[in-house]
Symmetry: C2
């Protein structure tokens, strides 16, 4: 591929626009095929770029453009879907429109998750034949990670959606991590066939019969972080409960450790010495360290970066978007859904 | 109350029958109103009781009886519900029949969870008006704990089931922990009204309108272990994902700590010093330390003890069963469901 253009929603995320601009510059330095378009408030963005220049940073100016947008979609929008529709001149909405029109091949946004999902579905649009797009998330189980899908897009899922999620994530995983037949498991309450809800029973039968999917059966939530499969398929409600429980449990354990540390001087010394270990642990559970997460099934490469992304996380998300584009994931998804 | 009779499924659990017999003796020593019936293989149980006698242990022999049963329901039964029906002379099934007939007021079993649920529903039977019984679990958030319901009984729940779960667990929590209006939250993907699936939206509206329930709104999975509510209502699929994710995350963190400890000598010293803290932590996440968990909505007091219960855990489960009986939880549930 001669090159590709990625839009960065420069106003999206807790640390926008500063970290977005810094991440963009880092990404340009690492990838000569990359052209970046920043959507956002021109004055603010130019000011930040000037700051970077005055600190001696350089980049290929021909590969970085700004498209001015007036509006910003906030993290606290009451209805993200409505905000995407209403704020047509927002950094997110304009970016989506550029992907839809073909001016850009993909987009990265660290903004409001619901708005990114709505932007992908409503403004960019689905690949022909895809019933519902699905949000994926790489979990820190090792290298490659385990990819969970769906973690945000579809609350009341049908069995056929989940089968498409399995197909799409199989292609994504293969292209991104070079694993020919990634192992797909279905999140369920037990490993035996016949376990679970009407939905999971139906999905089980469909996955088992699908030759495009390397289905290894059900997986219980306790085994997910052990890396027992490459892909974990679930509906977004279960995915949300899983992810937020991981977060809550980690927090609970940290609180317990802190409480324990107060109680004992010896333990306090121990904790100080273990600082490095605990820090490594924290990073391995931090979504921003894994870059971003694609919304599979939309026409362009749409990567949702974590809300509190720093410059490195933004750079990683841009690289992930570039990989998604250059490996032709979407063409292969279109083919698989047709076939 | 002059006294009450509790059946202990002496053959149920990973450490049965030894720990069950030892737990029974401990419970008898603590509660003069308690009569215990052990169901199980007479020879084995008498031999264990003889061992205890020869070690100098004593108990009120008039308050301990054995009912001989031939069959045992295994942890690995393919269909627990079928096993309960087929093995009518099992320690579990005979116990359930004794509760149904009124020979006993309640039962404790550390056996196969599915079989205990089936025994409760099929052999003991539901309180009139209760659509589905629900399994509760106390989470180690503090004192009192947070009670989660349902964690095992109903895979494809209807909104009306979840409202009954909220009513039943409100009564249970009030009687057991003396909190007049326990705070009930609904497990959901966001705190705002209107979030989630068709099911959770419907349940939200019903809970909000129910004056018998102190409904405080939605709760996200990350807040559950922070003790943000007294009761968390969910369907059994979500409950299962929550509990097994807590378990898996704790295991993941322990593994990470161990891996980190290998890497660094300093951290190793730290870990040794922190041993006590980590052990306290492990106990706080261990379901057996909280005794047992009632199946709400069946006619007797049915307590499921954790599969790997030791003697102390069995004793705690028996005490919990006694508390359930002596506070008249079931009469109050019947009244609330009628009203």
């Amino acid at each position: 591929m001669a090159g590709y253009t990625i839009v960065l929603d420069a106003m999206g995320g807790d640390n926008a626009p500063r970290c977005n601009v810094e991440g963009a510059i880092l990404a340009l330095g690492q990838d000569k095929d990359l052209k970046l378009v920043l959507t956002g408030k021109q004055d603010q963005l130019n000011k930040l770029l000037d700051e970077c220049r005055s600190q001696g940073q350089t980049w290929d100016e021909n590969r970085l453009a700004i498209v001015h947008t007036e509006e910003v979609i906030e993290n606290e929008e009451h209805s993200p879907a409505e905000a995407v529709r209403a704020k047509r001149n927002s950094s997110l909405s304009v970016g989506c429109q550029m992907v839809r029109s073909g001016e850009a091949d993909g987009m990265v946004s660290a903004g409001n998750t619901g708005a990114v999902l709505s932007g992908g579905t409503l403004l960019i649009g689905r690949i022909k034949g895809v019933q519902r797009p699905a949000l994926t998330l790489p979990l820190p189980t090792g290298n490659p990670p385990t990819v969970m899908v769906d973690v945000g897009a579809n609350m009341d899922a049908k069995a056929s959606y989940l089968v498409q999620f399995a197909r799409m994530s199989t292609i994504y995983f293969r292209e991104l991590y070079g694993v020919e037949k990634p192992r797909v498991a279905l999140l369920n309450v037990g490993v035996e066939e016949g376990k679970g809800t009407e939905l999971t029973k139906e999905v089980y039968d469909l996955l088992k019969a699908d030759e495009a999917i390397n289905f290894i059966g059900n997986i219980e939530a306790r085994e997910v972080l052990m890396g027992a499969s490459d892909i974990v398929v679930c509906d977004a409600f279960a995915g949300n409960v899983f992810l937020k429980t991981v977060e809550g449990t980690a927090k609970f354990i940290m609180n317990q450790l802190k409480a324990g540390i107060k109680d004992s001087f010896k333990a306090k010394i121990g904790a100080l010495l273990m600082k490095k270990t605990l820090k490594g642990l924290k990073n391995s559970l931090d979504p921003s360290s894994v870059g971003g997460t694609p919304l599979l099934g939309v026409k362009g490469a749409l990567i949702k970066a974590h809300g509190n992304s720093d410059a490195i996380a933004i750079m990683n998300a841009i690289r992930q978007c570039a990989m998604f584009i250059s490996t032709g994931v979407n063409d292969k998804i279109a083919e698989s859904i047709r076939g």
